[in-house]
Symmetry: C3
Subunit: 394 residues, 3 copies
């Protein structure tokens, strides 16, 4: 990694940007939502299928390198692998294969400048590095985020409807001893229009019985029941850990119209006094809605992860600025939502730093904020809000 | 107030901005939607609770001074109180207490450069200055906007279901003699998905009876019935005054998903030929939707009040520009939606002038608009549209 | 037309923009969705009624020249008619009348620099030029886009419920021999919340019988039945031509809340493997939603036509940049959606070129894209994506 400065993006900076950009560049970020990386070597089609939310390159659109994130990998990651910026995709993938997965992951993750990773281990963990391996690449530390729906699916596989609630509570209680947070993918399964009430034991039993009999009849074990998802959420609230929600865009399995964070309003009202932070992940293209929720609900934290590395440099600054229109500065977090490719950690961190520096520098340049305020706010968004909300380092 | 130029924000200007900025600076604005200010002295927590739509500073997000509007108060209002820009919150509040509420309100309201205030007197009026007192601070004039739901609530408290409709019509008729407009908060109570038809007398009676019996049984007097709200709206239309609608974001009581202005489409179609202007207030984050409605419905006027002082300087210019993408220039209004704090009038006016100047100057700088057109359009948005729509000075 | 350079907008350019702007300027665009122009002379009110989506200038908003598109006509089209930029509306209309409709249309359409027009002939074709006449003005070529709902309406007028499905299939099959694509205006008639399944023959018969009996009873022949519209869409899919959908904003007949492209998600999933491109037209203000759909569905193409000429120069660059946040560069198309006025083709083309050049130049200026990539992407968006998706020139 000689010659590659830690978490530098080597892209041109506004002249005179000075100390704020430098401070943001040096920030050790807390990535409060990410996944492991793939250790198997990747052919071009497999690599492209992990670049963005498209399942694979296609007949009509052509290569997925022709997206903001695809070009960003060539621009930002190629130099970390000793290539010239804008290397062609095949040249990049050849060099990647030559260096080997561990070397590539190590270089890119160290370059990202992330010190702490909160890792969702609930989606195809068998294909991905564990949180510890991920953190070791980066020279940082990692904590586990446990996916509620996955725990329920593991439970129903081995118990009856009659014991489901109790068994599930026990498993989540066990998980809470080591996990840093829970996560719900209600948006993917039933949408975010969740009733606010904790479901009754009877309702949970009935729903579990329906699910168990479907599974017994050979249906795949996939939780898509609103009552049971609410049961999981309320069980998690009892356990006191922060709860992350997938919100807004994702892959083709999501229905965007049901992933609008404002649909969560009744549940946010019902949980406002529980002392449990609710983390709204991604949010794009509803990030302004999310900013509103963060303003009026003290326990709501928000980010624009996933979007940040997908939408281009200008897009990232625009989207972060829009999130910050209403969100109190104490409620905004950094996440990559990187999955599979170490490249996504690096692109995400570079783009986030650039967006954050751009937004706060603009305030200072126009005299709207003092430089002290700008520095303080940049630090709080980059790591301190996450440290406080997740009680890291306690 | 010696040394404080009237409605100047003393922030750096683009060099050479010249005459348009100067003209916009000198515009005497019509604030077509605002509230009174609080006369009681305010401790820090009480002050923060009025800064934005959050109920109060909280355990997780920290001080609400760490928002765009909080920093703007320190930046823009501190100099009006003889402090340096960016004064710390406690220093600012100390100086505020030292000067006294009347002196502070007078300085800030005169600095705002608003000549006419249309004041919604329907929300906690007992805590706020009357329209006349507000206007006296500013050296301007004020007119009253009457909240429909409040009139209905005052009516049901003293009459039966059988006389409700008649009594309510009489009260609204009385109000119309002095008020400049009506306002509905349907968005807060039942959402904007209102049926377009005028409800029948029988339907109004049935709904009033249900409400009255709830009240008799001890429920709080709070109108949240779609039929009765439609009855109020159609009664107001008969009276011929403009009707304001809360649209988009507000405090935690609103459900953003039901506050989308496009939900009003059927009602807007049904009222298009009534000769009554409909004012869509705030609109954020649906201000592009509102711009569409303003384009296709001649009787629809729109603003981005409330958002303007909340979203930062760059945000205000962005949001106004987005509103103006589709809204005809003859349909856009200025409002502060300031409530409680005189600071919000000043911040709102400064930010609105800056946004308006930024948007029109950009057109002239690129040669897209002539300077004459730019001047004319800025004036129409700042005051002439409101003068025409509300028939002020007649 | 002496002295008017082909498709030049003669507006000031960023100095040093250089070769990308020049290349974009010279691009021969494919307009994949437009309408014919009016040949009758137009008085001011009639002209204004075609400028934007408002039905006519109105009592409250005043002249529709006071919109971005109105000012753009004075700025961009006046010089093409030998007037000074920013000519007053009456002066412009006088000169327009003096030159005559054919001369005006010829000048403006040649100035637009469009080589290929895909023309929707389904809306008031009796008032508009045919595709061939339109293309002749421009010195280009034209292909016909057939509106599904219109074919159904022509069919029901002459057949019984029992023969409707068969007759409609036959007519669409005939149309497919010469048309380049089909189009659905489901958004206007029933909204985009369409069930994904192909309706059964029995369901089509029942719906056709209901419609036919309404028509027999004297109702206007207007298709607004979800089942029949789905029948048309699936019939079109069987025929293999691309299908365009009106999405997002339009005139006062649309209900924006039902025109959100994410409502199409189930249908997009159901048609993903059919080999038929789906074109989402306009999309504003849901263009970010559309970009998401384009990313996760390979057969989805998107544009921001109609918005581009309505939202001003800065707005067009903003809206295109937002569309490109998630949309793969291979999925984005150009269209004008011009209707009636040749001016709209010119304004749309000028604004689109400016937006495209602005977006890609920004990437190059910051070092994020190579100039080669920028050139390639600009070309693909301006014409090559449409050529591929519609199999033009085969």
């Amino acid at each position: 990694m000689a010659g590659v400065a830690p978490f530098s993006d080597d892209t041109p900076r506004t002249p005179g940007a000075g100390s704020i950009a430098g401070m943001v560049e040096a920030l050790r970020l807390v990535d409060h939502h990410c996944h492991g990386v793939v250790r198997a070597p990747l052919e071009r089609r497999a690599f492209e299928s992990m670049l963005c939310e498209a399942a694979a390159p296609g007949r009509w659109h052509g290569s997925l390198f022709d997206t903001h994130v695809g070009i960003a990998v060539r621009r930002l990651c190629a130099p970390v692998l000793d290539l010239a910026p804008h290397a062609e995709p095949d040249e990049y993938l050849e060099r990647r294969a030559e260096l080997g997965v561990d070397e590539v992951a190590g270089r890119l993750l160290r370059a990202a400048g992330i010190s702490e990773f909160l890792v969702d281990t609930g989606f195809h963990p068998e294909q991905l590095t564990t949180p510890d391996v991920l953190a070791a690449y980066a020279g940082g530390t990692a904590r586990e985020v446990v996916r509620l729906e996955r725990v329920a699916e593991e439970t129903i596989a081995v118990c009856s409807a009659g014991t489901f609630a109790q068994e599930c509570r026990a498993r989540l209680g066990d998980a809470a001893r080591t996990a840093i947070a829970f996560k719900s993918i209600a948006a993917y399964r039933v949408g975010l229009d969740l009733a606010p009430e904790r479901p009754s034991d009877a309702a949970v039993f009935t729903a579990a019985a329906r699910w168990a009999s479907g599974v017994a009849a050979g249906k795949p074990i996939r939780l898509a029941d609103e009552t049971l998802i609410r049961f999981l959420i309320w069980t998690a609230i009892d356990l006191g850990l922060p709860i992350q929600f997938h919100v807004g865009y994702g892959d083709a399995d999501i229905n965007l119209a049901r992933a609008d964070p404002s649909l969560l309003t009744p549940l946010l009202r019902a949980t406002a006094d529980r002392g449990v932070p609710i983390m709204l992940l991604h949010n794009y293209p509803f990030h302004r809605h999310a900013g509103y929720l963060a303003q009026v609900f003290d326990h709501v934290f928000v980010d624009v992860g996933l979007a940040v590395h997908n939408v281009g440099r200008g897009g990232a600054a625009r989207v972060l600025a829009e999130l910050l229109e209403l969100a109190p500065f104490g409620s905004v977090l950094f996440s990559t939502d990187a999955y599979g490719l170490p490249e996504l950690f690096h692109v995400s961190a570079v783009r986030f730093r650039d967006a954050l520096a751009t937004v706060v520098e603009e305030q200072v340049a126009r005299g709207d904020w003092s430089e002290d305020d700008a520095m303080r706010i940049a630090r709080t968004i980059g790591s301190e809000n996450a440290t406080r909300a997740y009680r890291l380092y306690q």
